[in-house]
Point group: C2
Chain length 111, copies 2
């Protein structure tokens, strides 16, 4: 367990879906938001997020759309699809189950 990498990796896709379920967003902003929430526990690199976004798009769980921001700059906004919401709730459930079992197994006798 060299770094937090392994902890983080498992959940990238679920987190992104969660963020997009609240509100459409674009890669750069997703990174910012998640890193803010993570508050130092872990930190995403930009390069980490884009491949996952592309995969989610390919799987039709999100849909991408270039859009002009009020700044005049072009941004690639991602919207979660209906299938994406389904996947999100399924995965969130699975995550909870998984975490419960881990917690139980890791629970030590003497605190």
């Amino acid at each position: 367990m060299k770094s937090d990498k392994e902890l983080v990796g498992a959940s990238t896709a679920v987190i992104i879906l969660g963020v997009l379920a609240r509100e459409p967003s674009y890669g750069y902003q997703i990174v910012k938001r998640v890193n803010e929430a993570a508050d130092g526990v872990w930190e995403w690199q930009e390069g980490t997020v884009y491949p996952v976004l592309h995969k989610l798009e390919k799987d039709k769980l999100v849909r991408a759309q270039w859009q002009e921001a009020d700044t005049g700059r072009q941004r690639k906004y991602y919207y979660i699809t209906a299938a994406g919401r389904d996947a999100l709730s399924t995965q969130a459930e699975r995550w909870k189950a998984f975490n419960g079992i881990v917690a139980q197994l890791v629970e030590t006798p003497h605190g």
Copy 2:
């Protein structure tokens, strides 16, 4: 998120440490116990566990010792070390923190 693999991968080492913190054990038995606890949510293969055990040993978080079981058979028992216990509690804490943030991010507005 093709399978449970990614969910599972993050925590293999922590889980093993947790199991060994309760009681020394050997590879085959660890697999059995964890799979029983996982109860279908995921399932370890034997080949998955041994590399991790070896890495933990190399990192001095566990210590291995061949021992004769009551059946007369030789088994390689793994014991958690003091450093291993430290790592376990550190990682368990980190896991909790991590999971809390994920839960918060994944929480959807409408259930």
